[in-house]
Amino acid sequence: MDWIDFLIVVLRVVVVFALLLLVTIINVWAERKVVADFQNRIGPERAGPFGMLQTVADGLKLFFKESIIPARSEVGMFLLAPFLAVIPAFLIFLNIPFGRPITIGDRVIPLQGMDVDVGLLIVLAMSSMAVYAVVIAGWSSGSKYPLLGGVRATAQAISYEAAMGLAMVAVVLFSATQAADAPGGTLSLAELVERQSGTWAGIIPRWNLIPQIVAFVIFFIAAIAETNRAPFDLVEAEQELVGGYFTEYSGMRFAMFFLAEYINIFSMSALTATLFLGGWNGPTWDGVLPVWLSALLPFVWFMIKTYVLVFIFFWIRATLPRLRYDQLMALGWKRLIPGALGWLMLTAVVLGYRRFGLPWS
C-alpha cells in the first residue's frame, strides 16, 4: 500500500461524505415539497429556485442560534450524544456500493466507501450503535419528555432490529445459492450486488425482490421503524412528547440530530435497494455509449432505485396516521418476528430442496 492507494481511500471516503451531505440538503427540501403536495400546499419556495436552498438557509439559521445546555442535564453525556448520532449514520452508508467499480490505468477503484467481507454485519452493528445516541440524549437531558422519548426509541429500535436482521439472513441465504462459480454465502455488499446482475428468462432482472418479496416487506417496515419515521415516529410524537429525545437540544446540536435522521433515511433506502433491488445493476450499453457514460450509468440506476424508496418513505409519512405504542410493539414482536422466522425456514427448505434434492435421496 503506497501513498496513492491511501489517497484513493481518503478520496472515496470524502466522496461518500460529500454525497451524504448533498443528499441530505436535497432530501429535507424534497420531503417538505412532497408532503406539501400531498396536503395541497406549496411548501418552501423562497430560498433559491423552487425553494431548493431552504435546507441551507435553515442550517445557517441554526448555526447562529443559541445552543442551550439545560441546568439539570448530565453535561458530558449531553455533549456526547450528537457525535454518537452522526458518526454511525455516516458509517452505515460507507459500506454501500453506489456504482460499478471503475478502472483507471491498472487500478480498480470500487465505488464504495469500504468493501469488506463482513459488510452486512457492520451495517447491522452501526444501526445498533445509533440507539445509544437516542438513549443518551434522552436520559442526559434531565427532562421528562426526552426521557420518555429515549426509552420509547430504545424499545422500538431493538424490537424492529431483530425483524430486520432476520430478513437480512433470508437474503444472504438466497444469494448463497445464486452464484454458480463462487460457492458459499457472502456478507459482502459488493458481492451481494454482483449476484443480482443478469436476468431470468431474458427479461426479468435477477433482483432479490422477486423471490424474497416477503423479506422485502418485513425489511422495509423494519427500516421505517428503525429510522423513527411516521407511522412509527412515536419517539418524537409531537402531540405527546414535544420533540422526543431532542426536546432540550437547540442550535447546532439539534441540527446534528436532524442531519443524522435524514442520512439514516437515505442509507436505509440505499441498503434496501442494494439488498433487494439489485443495487447499481442495470443496462449500461458498454461499447455503444461513450466510456464515461457507461461508467456513470450504474450510479444513476442506484440513485433512481434509492430515490423511489425515499419517495415511498415520504409517501407513507404523508398517508398513514401514527400507531399507538402497544400496537407498535405488537406488530414488531407478534407479527414481523414470527413472520420473518417462518419465512427464513421456508426459504431454507425450498433452497435446500432445489440445490441438494430430498434429504433422504
Binding site: V10, D115, E161, A162, L341
Partner: protein, 137 residues
C-alpha cells in the same frame, strides 16, 4: 481480507467526528450565549415544572431488551450458517431449524405469559391479581 481494508472505517470515523466537532465549535463563536434560569429549566410548555423528571426506566423496557438479546444472538448464529449454507446442506438446515424451533418456543412462551403485551393492565397475570384484590376488598 487484510486489516488495511478497514482503513476507510477509521478515516470516516475521524472525518465525521471532526465535522461535528468543527461545526459545533465554529457555531460557538458565531452564536449568542446568554443563559437565564428560565431558559435552562427543563422544558414544560412554558409553565414551571412541578413534577421532578424520574431518572429510572420502566421495567417493561428492560424485558424487551432481554428478549432482544436472545434474538440478536440467534441472528448472529444464523448469519454464520447462511454464509456456509452450501457446505452444510441438509445437516445445516436441520440444525438451524431445530435451533429456530427452540427460539420460537421461547417466543410463544413469553407471548402466552403476556410479556409482549405492552399495556400492563391487559396482561392476564396482572389482571388476575388485580381481580383478586378487588374481590378481597
Amino acid at each position: 481480507m487484510a486489516l488495511v481494508d478497514y482503513l476507510p472505517f477509521v478515516v470516516m470515523l475521524v472525518l465525521a467526528a471532526g465535522f461535528v466537532a468543527v461545526s459545533l465549535v465554529a457555531s460557538r463563536f458565531a452564536r449568542p450565549s446568554n443563559p437565564t434560569p428560565e431558559k435552562l429549566a427543563p422544558y414544560e410548555c412554558g409553565i414551571t415544572s412541578e413534577v421532578e423528571p424520574t431518572q429510572r426506566f420502566p421495567v417493561k423496557f428492560y424485558l424487551v431488551a432481554m428478549l432482544f438479546v436472545i434474538f440478536d444472538v440467534e441472528i448472529v448464529f444464523l448469519f454464520a450458517w447462511a454464509s456456509i449454507f452450501n457446505e452444510l446442506a441438509w445437516y445445516g438446515i436441520a440444525a438451524a431449524g431445530i435451533f429456530t424451533l427452540f427460539v420460537l418456543e421461547t417466543l410463544v412462551y413469553v407471548w402466552k405469559r403476556g410479556a409482549l403485551d405492552w399495556n400492563v393492565k391487559t396482561r392476564s397475570r396482572y389482571a388476575r391479581e388485580h381481580f383478586r384484590i378487588e374481590e378481597a376488598a
